[in-house]
């Protein structure tokens, strides 16, 4: 199957509820994703606090492109491919540091903090001053933006600006990002390799509360109240799901009694609850009642394509694809700047214990995702479509919550179907104009939904 013959339209149904399992298996589908999704969408890179000073840098990936993210002397954030333009060698092998320039290990070509080619050895003796250095700088991304300290970039000059791409999700992210002090990540990221397709994690984190009571039964039982109530999937937690434009979505569990449902324990929980309660009046005033409640809730979320987080746990993820059947999971901890250093480190420890590399919840997921991927190995098995139809017909809209809302409880597959539909859109549309047109059509269809006045 070549890119020209991949029939994506047939692989995901129009409403997103049925998938051909080749989307998790085929090389040709994956290659098209690299071209149509990872080379065009906004991808999460790092938090600004990892590169606070001029010369600071981290290295990461955009799709399978290795990139350097550096803070210039002008304090601007530069993002460029981690690749020398001479013979293509890796430019920087460190994960992070501070430097005046990047020097290729092969012939000593020197790149500036902005990726421009600053110097080549033997320029007059061997190049006879004939090399035009301005032509051989590293490839810079088309756009870099920091959304409240969270740095994203895209290779596509035609991609909408980040705030337009985040769309309604920006309003929801502000529940914890647009608070006094804002939010930040604790790194460096810890990395774990899983032999699974990256989309299985993106779709799980976009709205899968259904799996918590079953996959994570052991961890939920051990942690105890209030999570042990879901063990065995006897009930759905009160809360809601939201799907937005551009494939983003989340599901939140919001206790009606105003308690704080975080997964933190012991002293961490005590200090976390104290902090959250102390911020309630200010949050209510700044964010409004819906987002003030969401601020305190426990939620899973995916920002399409490959950035996810769990608020209340508080883990932040990027799903770095490495082919159709492998990914690296990069994990940070999510905290608020105004928290004490002590509380931040306690939250880090708590999030590592649950969703870190040896996390007592995270550890359950990898195996499921590998199973879902490797079922595609069988010729016959691969031909059986998969079903994602929970909560069909339950899409609503709300006066107070932007996007598509499902508010009977937190369990459903509405954000998952939304993510699948947007995946289909990105994979089949040649231009952002077409993509934006499809998002407009979706928003118009949403306007026909019944209104759910009390979304949560």
């Amino acid at each position: 199957m070549t890119a020209a013959t991949v029939d994506i339209r047939a692989m995901v149904s129009e409403d997103g509820s049925v998938q051909d399992r080749r989307i998790y298996w085929d090389e040709a589908v994956y290659n098209l994703e690299q071209e149509r999704i990872f080379a065009r969408c906004w991808l999460f890179l790092t938090h600004e606090n990892a590169i606070p000073n001029p010369g600071d840098f981290i290295t990461t990936y955009m799709g399978q492109d290795r990139v350097i993210v550096s803070r210039g002397r002008d304090r601007k954030i530069n993002v460029f491919t981690n690749s020398c333009r001479h013979r293509g060698n890796l430019l920087c092998a460190a994960d992070s540091g501070n430097t005046k320039s990047f020097v290729c290990n092969y012939h000593g070509w020197v790149y500036g903090l902005d990726g421009s080619l600053a110097d080549v050895p033997l320029e007059s003796e061997a190049y006879y001053n004939k090399i035009d250095k301005s032509k051989w700088g590293a490839r810079r991304v088309a756009q870099v933006e920091s959304y409240r300290g969270f740095v994203f970039a895209t290779f596509d000059a035609k991609a909408p600006v980040l705030t337009d791409y985040l769309a309604e999700m920006g309003w929801y992210l502000d529940s914890f990002m647009d608070v006094p002090g804002g939010a930040e990540l604790l790194g460096p990221p810890v990395k774990v390799r899983v032999k699974a397709n990256w989309k299985l994690f993106a779709e799980n984190f976009v709205g899968d509360w259904y799996h918590v009571g079953w996959t994570h039964g052991g961890g939920a039982t051990a942690i105890g109240s209030p999570f042990d109530v879901v063990v065995g999937n006897g009930l759905c937690l009160p809360g809601y799901q939201v799907a937005t434009s551009f494939g983003h979505g989340f599901a939140a569990a919001v206790p009606p009694d105003g308690s704080i449902p975080s997964m933190h324990q012991r002293d961490t929980k005590r200090l976390y609850d104290e902090f959250m309660l102390s911020r309630r009046p200010a949050n209510l005033q700044r964010l409004g009642p819906e987002r003030a409640k969401l601020h305190d809730a426990i939620w899973d979320c995916t920002v399409f394509p490959s950035c996810s987080f769990l608020r209340g746990i508080d883990t932040w993820k990027v799903w770095q694809p490495r082919g159709p059947r492998e990914l690296d999971i990069w994990t940070w901890t999510l905290v608020e700047r105004d928290m004490s250093d002590e509380l931040k480190q306690m939250i880090r420890h708590s999030s590592e214990l649950t969703f870190g590399a040896a996390g007592i919840f995270e550890g359950d997921d990898g195996e499921n995702m590998e199973g879902c991927t490797w079922g595609g190995e069988g010729y016959i098995t691969r031909q059986e479509p998969l079903y994602l139809g929970m909560g069909e017909g339950k899409e609503r809209r709300s006066d107070r919550y932007p996007g598509t809302v499902h508010a009977d409880h937190a369990c459903g597959e509405i954000p998952q179907r939304n993510l699948m539909r947007f995946w289909r859109t990105m994979m089949t549309c040649d231009s952002w104009d077409q993509i934006k047109e499809q998002q407009r059509e979706q928003a118009e269809r949403r306007a026909q939904f019944d209104v759910r006045p009390e979304a949560a």
Binding site: G97, V190, V192, D328, R348, E352, G356
Partner: protein, 184 residues
């Protein structure tokens, strides 16, 4: 002549003590490995001192010239950063019988080598180095080997050695298996 004989016997006493302590702690580490391989986690917990600090930090790739301080348990991104209650929570989860990824059971084999008794004493803490290699084989053919250096602090409590602190330096940056579900 008497002085020389006296100093010889003191040296051999010290050597006998050193050999005994080395033997005891090496056996302790082998026994620990066997208990963990056999999933005898409650017995393993009883080998730990109440103040146990169990830490395995991320191994970041930094340039050799990088002057930033080395990570500490209070400042690092970690794989494990546990006290006794955290370790008990991990085992409590395992004991629920609901951890599907461990059913059927994997095959785990730890090899402990390079045991060196460094400095310290039995009361304050004896520093012990060792290496561990853990082979985990799951399901049909999923195999991974994790390797690490360990820096342990042992205290003598009653007539037993107990592990008071373990700092684990894994030989990995990216962990090449879907979860780090073994104790190092």
């Amino acid at each position: 002549m008497n002085d020389i004989i006296a100093s010889d016997s003191t040296r051999s006493d010290r050597l006998a003590d050193d050999l005994r302590v080395h033997f005891e702690l090496e056996q302790w580490l082998y026994r620990e490995a066997r208990l963990l391989d056999s999933e005898r986690f409650k017995e393993w917990l009883s080998m730990l001192a109440p103040e146990i600090s169990y830490w395995m930090p991320l191994r970041e790739n930094r340039f050799r010239r990088d002057r930033r301080p080395a990570p500490t348990p209070a400042t690092s991104a970690s794989v494990f950063n546990d006290d006794l209650q955290d370790l008990e929570l991990r085992i409590k989860r395992f004991d629920t019988g609901l951890v599907w990824s461990e059913d059927p059971a994997p095959r785990v084999c730890r090899s402990v080598t390079n045991v060196e008794i460094a400095e310290g004493d039995a009361e304050q803490g004896l520093l012990v180095y060792s290496n561990v290699s853990i082979l985990r084989s799951r399901r049909q053919d999923e195999e991974v080997t994790f390797t690490a250096r360990r820096e342990d602090l042992f205290r003598r409590i009653g007539d037993e050695w107990k592990l008071a602190r373990r700092h684990i330096f894994a030989m990995h940056h990216v962990f090449l298996d879907e979860n780090v579900s073994v104790f190092f």
